[in-house]
């Protein structure tokens, strides 16, 4: 009897903790709802399981589109590769007219840009707008002068009223043990992000989930474990706000007015991280570094 009471107490505690984890999206009318996945294109069981969970979650959180953070198709670019590593795992979502917007990873054939379902329209980098959010998909494999000039022009033209969200493969800030922060890339594009008021950045490459403490007013997420996974892949760097490497994950995001709500889920449906970010009110700054001007 005593053992049963203890068991009930423990179960209640677990249930309490679980309910404490529960996160509710506001699901406001007209809000922008999307998912984010990275390093997923393996064609192996975990990718399918993540995709299945995404579809399940969509019943409660009806996201319209998915941003892909690179390494979309590993190990080849034949029709069969696309079928096994994209079309089949995400079939239910594709059948529900969910759109996928891809960025290129270092494992992606650049000609993926011609694949219609990735919505790249033949370009390595591009921008699109959804509601009050302006997205910038970059090609971090090849950040040449032309792309830098394009990015600056597009950021400049995007004004100050919209959220500005950039996504690309190589993280500017990462505690990943395998790769870590892309410092050189950061030296070139972070000054533009600061100058033109980018709010949030999503990347992959390191096969982990990490939310970094805001850096210079910008929120950074690494979501590189939607197919691949590096268990214990995060180092103690001091920049992590929340990290998770126990299982594959994906992110759900809702942008409603000046608030961005996010939830990161494991393939089993466990809430790994959640929260809300408010758009910082900031005047456009001059970049602190002169490196951009030097080039």
């Amino acid at each position: 009897m005593r053992k049963a009471r203890i068991a009930i107490l423990i179960l209640s505690l677990i249930a309490f903790c679980a309910s404490g984890d529960e996160f509710k999206f506001p699901l406001k009318a007209g809000s922008v709802k999307f998912a984010a996945i990275g390093d997923m294109g393996t064609g192996e069981a975990p990718q399918y399981q993540v995709a299945e969970r995404m579809n399940t979650e969509r019943q409660q959180f009806p996201f319209d589109f998915v941003i892909m953070l690179g390494d979309n198709i590993y190990g080849g670019s034949s029709g069969k590769d696309f079928e096994k590593k994209f079309e089949l795992p995400y079939k239910a979502l594709l059948d529900s007219s969910v759109k996928f917007y891809a960025s290129l990873g270092n494992h992606d054939n650049p000609n993926e840009r011609f694949y219609k379902l990735f919505h790249m329209n033949g370009a390595n980098y591009y921008t699109f707008r959804k509601g009050n959010v302006r997205f910038f998909a970059l090609d971090s494999n090849y950040m040449d002068a032309k792309q830098l000039a394009w990015l600056e022009k597009e950021l400049q033209n995007s004004g100050t009223s919209d959220w500005k969200i950039c996504f690309f493969h190589h993280p500017l800030y990462s505690s990943g043990k395998t790769h870590g922060s892309s410092i050189e890339l950061r030296s070139l594009i972070e000054p533009l992000f600061i100058k033109y008021g980018v709010d949030v950045v999503f990347s992959g490459h390191d096969h982990v989930y990490e939310r970094v403490k805001p850096e210079k007013g910008i929120y950074y997420f690494t979501e590189g474990s939607s197919g691949q996974l590096r268990p214990d892949g995060l180092a103690q760097t001091g920049i992590t706000d929340r990290g998770f490497t126990d299982d594959r994950t994906f992110m759900l995001v809702e942008v409603a007015g000046d608030v961005l709500y996010f939830e990161t889920l494991s393939r089993g449906g466990r809430i790994v991280d959640s929260g809300e970010l408010r758009r910082p009110v900031r005047a456009p700054e001059q970049p602190s570094s002169t490196e951009q001007k030097n080039h």
Binding site: S77, G79, N109, P110, N111, F114, G122, A145, I183, E184
Partner: protein
């Protein structure tokens, strides 16, 4: 010395002095003939030759691509793969005698080596090495001119600061790092069109 003689001396000496000053301001050193071109000027000339060759290649690419059905965004990935293969095959046939150094001319090779040396010996050295290490560098493959870049292999990330030192390329071609080599790749055909071996330091 009479005033007249002094005037004559000034008349003839003045232009000589001015020529001397002009030569000196242009960097000429007495007794060494014309000034040696600076590194930047050398790179400029060598890169120009390289870019002329790149442009000739791109003209060929365009001519061959225009003879094929245009590649537009498609939901059939086989079409993309077929286009890539056919384009590579046709370009390969048109350049069947292509050899290493056809585009990376001798002068260009020197200029690229200078740029790489400068990058890996300068303030960006640590960042450049880190970028390459983080980008999953390939060590064991050996590529050949006119052969496709092997399907499924990752692309090593190019250090962006190094990329900014290289001449800007047309959209059809891109620089790639493979092991210690710098490779010029036709992106749409996924074809190796030239390479410079052993240009990057071992430790990368």
């Amino acid at each position: 010395m009479t005033t007249r003689k002094r005037k004559i001396r000034i008349k003839y000496l003045f232009p000589l002095v001015m020529w001397g000053l002009l030569l000196a301001s242009a960097g000429a050193k007495p007794g060494t003939g014309p000034a040696a071109p600076s590194e930047e000027a050398k790179n400029g000339a060598d890169f120009k030759e390289f870019m002329d060759r790149v442009q000739a290649y791109v003209n060929l690419h365009k001519a061959i691509a225009s003879s094929l059905p245009a590649l537009k965004p498609t939901d059939q990935p086989e079409k993309i793969a077929n286009h890539q293969q056919t384009l590579a095959q046709r370009i390969g046939e048109a350049r069947r005698h292509a050899r290493r150094g056809d585009i990376f001319s001798q002068g260009a090779r020197k200029a690229f080596r200078r740029a790489v040396r400068e990058e890996f010996g300068g303030p960006h050295a640590h960042g450049a090495r880190t970028t390459i290490r983080q980008g999953e560098p390939l060590k064991t493959i050996r590529l050949r001119v006119n052969e496709p870049y092997p399907d499924g292999l990752p692309y090593t990330t190019l250090p962006p600061t190094l990329l900014l030192k290289f001449p800007k390329l047309p959209d059809q071609v891109a620089y790639r790092i493979v092991g210690r080599e710098l490779v010029l790749l036709d992106v749409e055909a996924n074809l190796v069109i030239d390479r410079i071996p052993d240009i990057f330091p071992e430790t990368t």
